[in-house]
Amino acid sequence: AQRVTQPEKLLSVFKGAPVELKCNYSYSGSPELFWYVQYSRQRLQLLLRHISRESIKGFTADLNKGETSFHLKKPFAQEEDSAMYYCALSGQGTSYGKLTFGQGTILTVHP
């Protein structure tokens, strides 16, 4: 079974502060990990995926297989980063393409 845990439902930081949204997963294999984001009154959309190893809007995430984590980080948070963030996992075999989402973390960046 595959499972994704986001331990923080709410996270508040001030503009310019570093931010880290935690994600831990459970999967017996090599997963694909994603971060999806939902801004206010917008659709859920892909922020980044570990396989592409790119930085989007200043965010990065490193897959740590030893700790089974995929934390999302940004060195200097901006007010426009305020949103709901979901970590998601796609497995292999019959789970290929099937996304399992965490419960989400609401990030609020204060001015």
């Binding site: 659709r43 959309q45 995926r49 979901y86 796609s90 393409g97």
Partner: protein, 114 residues
């Protein structure tokens, strides 16, 4: 490109009534997903189609939920009869192919069962 379309956006029904949701994916996307998102939780996959065939419906409550994608394009999700616990946002998503590709989400249908 046009995004994933869903209708209706909101629906209020009484328990034991039936309801249907419609989804039109991005043109050319072979894979279509229906998710259920209960308040305070992340989306949960209900069913996945590859063209007009079902890939995964292991989490679909088949005694009351049904879905089809007859021509491999549009899809409908039906609940009959609805229960109070079916109150949720129903999200449709599509991707180019089956696999760990980006999924594009629709705006969702918010269902309230009273």
């Amino acid at each position: 490109e046009a995004g994933v379309a869903q209708s209706p956006r909101y629906k209020i029904i009484e328990k034991r009534q039936s309801v249907a949701f419609w989804c039109n994916p991005i043109s050319g996307h072979a894979t279509l997903y229906w998710y259920q998102q209960i308040l305070g939780q992340g989306p949960k996959l209900l069913i996945q189609f590859q063209n007009n065939g079902v890939v995964d419906d292991s989490q679909l409550p088949k005694d009351r939920f049904s879905a089809e994608r007859l021509k491999g394009v549009d899809s409908t999700l039906k609940i009959q009869p609805a229960k109070l616990e079916d109150s949720a946002v129903y999200l449709c998503a599509s991707s180019f192919q089956d696999g760990p590709y980006e999924q594009y989400f629709g705006p969702g249908t918010r269902l309230t069962v009273t």
